[in-house]
Amino acid sequence: MQDHSSTMRYSTVMSRLTLAIFVLVSAACSQADTVNINVSGSSTVLPVVSRAAEQYAQEMPEVRVVVNAGGSGVGVKQLGSGQTDIGMISRDITDGEYEQYADVGLKTYAIGVDAVVPVVSSEIYAAGVTSLTFPQIASIYRGEVTNWSAIGGPDLEILVIDKEASRGTRQVFMSKIMGNKNATAPGAKLVLGSNNEEQTALAQSDAAIGMLSHAWLNDDVKGLSIIIADGAPIEPTLANIKNGQFPITRNLLLVSRSDLSAPAQDFIDYILSPEGQKIVEESGYIRVSE
């Protein structure tokens, strides 16, 4: 009996505590006079927008920018169905999407340029696989090449990492490598989502290949150079992305509806301003205006 009453007391205390927290939180949230701007979509564009949101908050304390990831497809869908004010996408809007959301009047703003880079675990890079051709990468994703030794690497099975079908990064990558943005990858062994998730898996493995936005490359995940025809390998450097040599580049876009609110328009203008463009550059992408 002793035990029972103590459990009871514990749960009453807990429920009162929960209630108190709930009341406090809802009171804090209902502060008047702040304008909310919701932004959601591509995890590639996200770092730019969330940094910009931080700096913007210092200039305009009455505006609160809420940034959410989910992928380009999710960004367009939420924008089209009115769940968010601004969408972030890391590929072009498809004709199907324009058609589906014709009534809301989608409008795009290019805020930067990025490259999608085929990446490998640092161990593979150190073992000598530093560049590949498109057909070689395609054969890995098709499942025809399954061991690194077949393409000049160590005798290790390739851990092929694919991405969710709606991800802008995957669609840009697949349309260049396989010639079809919705191409299936029968050789894939994992399917992951955001750039962060993919980066973690690549870093944890010693024999993985995947695809990442240029800004996510680091010491654990190395970007491959690409060989086109018989030319020299083109490294995924900012200079090569800027001058258009690196073959898998894309625009980073913000998307709005025709009923865009004035504060949201101001925020987009801020990202396009010199200050905002500096943030684009700091995030590892190429600015669109000087």
Binding site: D3, T7, Y10, V74, Q100, E164, A165, S166, L190, T200
Partner: protein, 285 residues
């Protein structure tokens, strides 16, 4: 009195209506997929770009991780419950149970992060795998997540057996082991089964933690019992794709069809168990 009775009846009716509404919503929204695909829903290929919506890999994955989790967690949980209820000094029982109940309340995303940072790496190293994101990892993580639930409910089940049974059994000079095995466990059986059922429900429905560690590939492993390869559960599939599928599309409808299956599985398991245990007279009320 009248008001409180009305209130209670009203609450019951509202709950019943909510359950009914869930079913109706799921059935209505999954009809498009059934109409477009029919029995092709029960195939192995999932590719929305080509209008292929085979749900078998996801059903397999959900079943596999749940079975692994239960096989690991039920024996351990039951042993631990026997310990806390029958062997542990009663003074310690309350604190131990509080800790277990706190463990049961930890949000699943926390388990998921621990799973991806440590578990998947350990499983990868232990079995010398390319990637530790496997069906086994997900099952293991789920086992840990449902263990506190199983322990604390089984402990309650055993503890609720009246003291007189223990005393009588001891009076017959039975060993403690025999008391537990032949007296307490048979009496507490119905409640223990309830505990397992609740844990099974959590394992089947868990999304976040599973999604992070299972590898999310829509394939049944080769051979099918190879739990050391990546897979996909119904919930992880929904978690990854429901936000991107356009409302009203066949893609969305196929996802809803899978959730309907999940609910149907849970409901039929629950009613089966309840039916089965109604047959037996409970010794303790």
């Amino acid at each position: 009195m009248r008001i409180s009775r009305l209130y209670i009846a009203g609450s019951a009716i509202v709950s019943a209506i909510i359950v009914l509404l869930i079913f109706v919503t799921l059935i209505v929204n999954s009809s498009a997929a059934v109409a477009a695909n029919g029995f092709h829903l029960f195939t192995y290929e999932w590719n929305p770009a080509k209008d292929q919506f085979g749900v078998l890999p996801m059903i397999f994955g959900s079943g596999a991780v749940t079975i692994i989790a239960l096989c690991l967690a039920v024996p351990i949980g039951l042993m631990a419950a026997i310990f806390t209820s029958e062997i542990l000094n009663p003074m310690w029982r309350a604190p131990v149970k509080s800790v277990l109940e706190i463990l049961a309340g930890i949000p699943s995303i926390i388990y998921g992060l621990i799973g991806i940072a440590f578990f998947s790496v350990w499983v990868g190293d232990l079995f010398d795998l390319q990637s530790g994101r496997t069906i086994l990892t997900a099952g293991l993580l789920l086992a840990i997540m449902i263990l506190p639930t199983i322990i604390t409910l089984c402990d309650d089940a055993l503890h609720n057996v009246p003291q007189k049974y223990r005393e009588t059994a001891a009076g017959l000079a039975l060993y403690k082991y025999e008391i537990v095995k032949d007296v307490l466990l048979p009496i507490a059986k119905a409640d223990i089964n309830g505990a397992v059922l609740l844990a099974l429900g959590r394992a089947l429905g868990e999304t976040m933690a599973v999604m992070l560690v299972i590898g999310s590939i829509d394939r049944v492993p080769e051979p099918f019992y190879n739990a050391l390869s990546a897979g996909q559960t119904i919930t992880s599939k929904l978690g990854r794709e429901v936000a991107e599928s356009a409302f009203g599309s066949v893609h969305f409808s196929a996802l809803i069809f899978m959730s309907l299956l999940l609910v149907a599985i849970t409901v039929s398991l629950t009613s089966l168990t309840q039916f089965y245990f109604k047959q037996e007279q409970r010794l303790v009320e």
